[in-house]
Symmetry: C2
Subunit: 229 residues, 2 copies
């Protein structure tokens, strides 16, 4: 084995370990989003405490992965696509951590609504539909990263627009509802907070997918109109 | 000049250029926040178009700086504090770009309120106070980065809690107001969006400051309770 092969195999080992950690973090985030949304649908708030606790674990993984990224760069001095993979991971973990934060916000919003003794049923369908779409985006973005699949990443990026439209429609419905029955205002504000958190998770899934394209193709497609052109 | 000095001076040149670009991006973001808040205070919506246009420039700077970071790592293979500076910049530009997005949200919210012919005066004082605090945090975080001043960074991190408290108080006031006079609901929802954007800018200023501590001291203080301990 020559020097270059030696370095390369150490790099591969480091990267395999890093990717396992990112997968673990992604899996946790996905579970958190799913648990928060189940709490919303069922009104079961017992899970909220667990969601808040697991968020700490996600935060620690973010720091551990960023630390790993810095060490891999310093020790292995990767270039080209190897470097893009490390830098992409460093961006992706920021988005994953924020997705976790948004899941926590959803859970806390559900608990507030429950504590106020309010009923969610009347706003259930719209928010649940958006939540399912966004959970699917989160899953597909993580899968796109795990398999470095730019086709799947493109699908996630395309899906984000629809979520934004749904979010705006939910806000309009809630405003109409509040005006008709001002007693619902407090709950409606909590539901807006929850809907916004769901919408933000979609944004972060899009960001993760954009990083997949960067890692694989070296193209930075952030802030472009024709993402998948 | 030996090989190591030669590499070091090229690195210093690259980094000086990078830091100038970050300063330029930071200056633009600061101007955007300030302009959006002036629009809120004055009700002058003519500036909103300019704010939306300048946001594109900020987005392009984010991509250019990230590209520079990747090139500096690949070419100069920095380690230790040099590497932390590059990785810190790569995190900071993400926060700066999002601060720009929030400024754009504020500006668009002001325009919506104006188009609906509503008056902002009654909610002015609380939001303006929070806005001034957050603009100060944004400025000090950029200054802390420019001078790699961890003391100033710690001050920004400490200030964030107070902004969160102010934000919650504004939301409570708005809910009371909406219940008393449901005709104000549409405007109140826009003001909540604006207040939330201001609060988020504070979060990003805190994130920038945490990166300053990482760059200077190598300590990752994200997600810790005692940030400045």
């Amino acid at each position: 084995m020559n020097e270059s092969q030696h370095v390369s195999s150490q790099f591969d080992e480091d990267m395999a370990r890093l990717r396992v950690r990112v997968s673990r973090m992604g899996g946790l985030v996905e579970t958190q989003i799913s648990a928060a949304m189940n709490a919303y649908s069922s009104g079961e708030v017992a899970v909220v405490k667990g969601i808040v606790e697991t968020d700490h674990e996600i935060n620690e993984l973010e720091k551990a992965i960023d630390d790993d990224c810095a060490h891999v760069i310093a020790r292995r001095q990767p270039t080209a696509s190897d470097l893009r993979l490390v830098l992409g991971i460093s961006k992706i973990v920021t988005d994953l951590e924020r997705m976790g934060d948004e899941a926590k916000k959803i859970a806390k919003g559900v608990r507030r609504i429950h504590e106020n003794g309010q009923d969610l049923a009347q706003f259930g369908a719209g928010v649940r539909h958006m939540a399912e779409a966004v959970l699917g985006m989160a899953r597909r973005s993580l899968d796109a990263f795990a398999r470095l699949d730019t086709g799947q990443a493109a699908g996630v990026i395309d899906a984000d627009h629809e979520v934004d439209v749904e979010f705006k429609s939910i806000i309009r419905q809630l405003i109409t509802h509040m005006m008709e029955d001002p007693r619902t205002i407090t709950t409606a504000i909590d539901i807006i907070t929850i809907a916004r958190a769901i919408e933000r998770i979609g944004d972060h899934a899009k960001n993760v997918s954009e990083q997949v394209v960067y890692v694989v193709e070296g193209r930075d497609i952030r802030h472009t109109k024709e993402k998948t052109a």
